[in-house]
Assembly symmetry: C2
Homo-oligomer: 550 residues x 2
């Protein structure tokens, strides 16, 4: 096992007298957190053993306010759900010496896996090439727990689990959440999700009823619209600027809400992607977030904070010819550079934060987590126990071996810094290509500060068929021409929060996350050619080897 | 890679002229099925590439009837769901040479995994000890697909996917389903689930409305009750005998349904666990299934066939002192020994079958699948795409390496035969212990033919406190005394389909799946002691070191 990055730690004393590293002012070293872990009850490492994220928090939360109760928003479905009664019988398993003929758990004897190994990067040597050369192999045996080799193994992870996920990984997730967000109320909890799309689905079944409307950015993640629609929940778009959601506009919408004109009750939910928003790439500043939170307090709005891109915050954009900004000098500097989350300012417990490993480790893990008040986390867990169950134990074991047993918290922060610099490079590539290839009279953009998306506005009023053709028709026409030119970008209209609302803007979304640099460059070149052709700029249509009809 | 089990194949000619092995009359060899696979479109092996189980079926389904349409049962939620529009944009990716700046998929460059290896048993050497000695190591590299080493790899499996799951594993699942069940209608399809609990949750959201009632065995899987209840769906128990659900009783219930007395509409759904039912262990015979199916046709009932224990069908019980029945002589004999599924007799397409790897490979995979008509599978996929998404790619890769690339279909059947014999031994252990330790005047049982559960009836009328105490009070008293004696069994009342219905039976459920043989024996001994004490049999209360108060 590789040693964690050896950055100096300055421990500080918490109000409770417990010494914990202060994540926002001092560097953090994996082993320091590790060493300070409370003595854990070993029973929770067992098969399908219950655990509670409360027990994994390092700070004292005494004296902090308790979260508000949300009974007035909680659905009949969520209120009447009883959870899995058989899992509740697990409490008798702590009787010393008891022989269980109770739970219908298969014996691990019949899991046809003796060992699982992963080759992964050591801290500081994160690239694919370095991993090939200097990567280490982590191995999970079948009975490592019984053999005292590890606290997590195949026989445990590959069996049934609790909806909250396995204690081993839940501990790491809770510590990470505390380290990064330090929620300012007493009774916050984490529980695993099988990803944030499911997290939103479950949140809506808990907090919304058919006929409800939910606020969001006026352009928003289309899957959120599509998850909500069949539940009878429509989105109401809030105007945005370069920093995303506009608090005054949101306040105005709520203050003047006309249920009959809107065809829905005044919203009590805000769905927002505050950082590197999909599709606009906008990132709300700290001040913006505080202003939005205040509006939510004023109108008693509950916030669903969907944050897959939180750790894809990039280095400042210095422009095409300026030197790069220096990378974060320490873990503390890195954490400090991040925009504070809604969770970190949530004195009321009115935020359900959705976190995901998809963008920073692997979407194929299907492991995420939510952080919210005890009341809502308890409801979420009950629902999970009778629907999604726990995230795949196979994924949990893989993540735990990497994150807890190998990298530790500090190593993970190093990984996140690595990702940050990589995405910065990728973003700079797409911006350079845009500078080079796009006709600025037609296409305009702002450098994204976070996330995977570059959002390009097209001035449809300059289109030769405007105003005979509608915005959506022009969008369709440009889109198809881009395809003809051999590139795929997403149409802005696919991201309308509410397609019944009037839209007078036209955008395309391009991602710099997926393709290699030369493809990004070439893709944008093709996009530029298609736009020029479509808007009859410079060259005549049909020039450059492109004909109209194909 | 180990060679597949070398059992002779006799291929037969399908009505369509395509030569396929007939699973019910001839042995099946892995490579024969493998070799006959249709030439697959390679594009479907790619990241988040769409695929359709239709393309993986080997038989011709021409001339078979089409499934009925279920529009009259499909909910508003399911009808209005549009699916994930961005995933639909994937269709443009097949344009030759296209550069995608479209989908927000992270680059596999940032998946910190270079290689994943698994040590697994070779065919025929399945035990833990043998796997340690002679197991082989399967390895998935990061870019095996690009390097032509394999059709599935880390860069693909660990990225986003389609709700149906990855084509690689979906092919194997479809072939397996065809091999075992050969559904008798034309337009059947498979799609992956994240497990059957979620499958039921999604089926109910597709097919039931608040206020509905759903038929099931009068004792049923408690999580099914708990999944249904918050959706406003109550279960109506149908009387059972040793073969499970009684078709005549079901017909009578439906024919005389009184909505106002029942407090719910006449049911249009049957939830049944036909094989090794949880908790009763009952297995419906083929004739019983046909009779139930006919009742469902008569009353237009849609069937949810939940079959986690299908391959835990055991050898015939020969009694404590008789020699064991010989194991299946061939794959064909094994498949023939299995009770035919509802799916295999489903000429109407009125069955949604829920399959799961939980009991035969590992619950921690959180991978299962459903088989149903194209109409319902399409709705299921759409729902998955905006909620659960695909099962974890990490699990899918692990299962595929084992099932497709290593064992093949024939090797998997050998594994299932191994499991069958193992469960037979375990069942025989619990039955021997019951013969030895239980007071037959009070406790009676039937040998289970399938599954994980032994269902023991207790004659409460012999309890010293009867009739002063209710059945549930006596059950509670026995349960707590069993705990005192150091064993855990499940209370029958936890499995009431409907706790408002009158119950005049008292049962306990014990599992022989989990504990080693000596623990099963000792657990039943403790159960017997507790029952004797509770019913004041033989010894006085307080004898044997047990006192009343603890």
């Amino acid at each position: 096992m590789a040693p964690p990055a050896a950055i100096e730690v300055e421990a500080v004393t918490d109000t409770s007298g417990v010494t914990v590293p202060d994540p926002l002012t001092v560097p953090v070293k994996s082993n320091e957190i590790y060493g300070r872990r409370k003595k854990a009850d070993k029973r929770q490492w067992g098969v399908a053993a219950p655990s509670d994220s409360k027990d994994f928090r390092l700070r004292s939360y005494e004296g902090r306010p308790k979260a508000r109760r949300w009974d007035h928003y909680i659905t009949h479905e969520a209120k009447t759900r009883k959870g899995n009664s058989l899992k509740q019988a697990a409490k008798f398993l702590s009787t010393p010496g008891i022989i269980s003929l109770g739970g219908g758990l298969p014996s691990s004897e019949y899991f046809p896996f003796e060992e699982l190994s992963l080759k992964v990067p050591t801290v500081g040597h994160f690239s694919e090439a370095e991993t090939k050369d200097s990567g280490v192999v982590l191995t999970a045996g079948k009975h490592d727990l019984a053999n005292d080799k590890s606290i997590f193994d195949i026989s445990t992870a590959f069996n049934y689990g609790q909806g909250a996920g396995a204690a081993q990984l839940l501990r790491w997730i809770t510590e990470h959440t505390e380290l990064v967000h330090d929620p300012p109320y007493e009774d916050w909890r984490c529980t695993m999700s099988i990803g944030s799309t499911s997290g939103l689905d479950m949140a809506l079944r808990m907090l919304s009823r058919p006929g409800d409307m939910m606020l969001s950015e006026e352009y928003t993640f289309s899957a959120a619209v599509e998850t909500a629609a069949p539940l009878g929940v429509r989105l109401a778009g809030v105007p945005i600027d370069a920093e995303g959601l506009l608090p005054d506009a949101m306040d105005a919408i709520l203050s003047t809400w006309d249920a009959s004109a809107r065809g829905g009750r005044k919203p009590h939910l805000l769905y927002t992607v505050p950082t590197g928003q999909n599709p606009t790439g906008a990132t709300q500043s700290a001040a913006r977030r505080r202003a939005i939170y205040a509006v939510c307090q004023k109108h008693d709005i509950y916030i669903i904070e969907d944050e897959p891109y939180y750790f894809l915050q990039m280095q400042p954009y210095t422009g095409p010819n300026a030197p790069d900004a220096p990378p974060p000098a320490s873990h503390a500097a890195f954490l400090k550079s991040l925009v504070p989350s809604f969770l970190s300012m949530d004195t009321d417990g009115r935020v359900m934060r959705l976190d995901s490993f998809s963008k920073v480790i692997s979407p194929g893990s299907r492991v995420g987590w939510i952080t919210a008040s005890e009341q809502l986390v308890a409801l979420y867990k009950k629902h999970a126990d009778v629907s999604t169950q726990n995230p795949a134990g196979m994924s949990q074991l893989i993540l735990w071996k990497l994150l807890d047993e190998h990298w530790g918290h500090a190593g993970y922060l190093d990984w996140l810094i690595y990702i940050r610099l990589q995405y910065t490079q990728r973003r700079d590539v797409i911006l350079a290509a845009c500078e080079k290839y796009l006709p600025k009279a037609i296409v305009s953009w702002r450098p994204p500060m976070a996330g995977m998306f570059h959002w390009m506005q097209v001035d449809f009023t300059r289109h030769p068929d405007y105003p005979q053709k509608s915005i959506e028709e022009i969008e369709e026409s440009v889109f198809m021409r881009v395809i003809e030119h051999g590139a795929l970008v997403m149409r802005g209209s696919w991201f309308y929060a509410n397609s019944e609302e009037r839209h007078d803007t036209l955008f395309f979304r391009a991602t710099y996350a997926a393709a290699p640099a030369e493809k990004i460059d070439e893709g944008i070149r093709r996009f530029g050619e298609a736009v020029k052709e479509e808007f009859r700029l410079g060259k005549e249509n049909g020039v450059n080897g492109y004909s109209n009809g194909h």
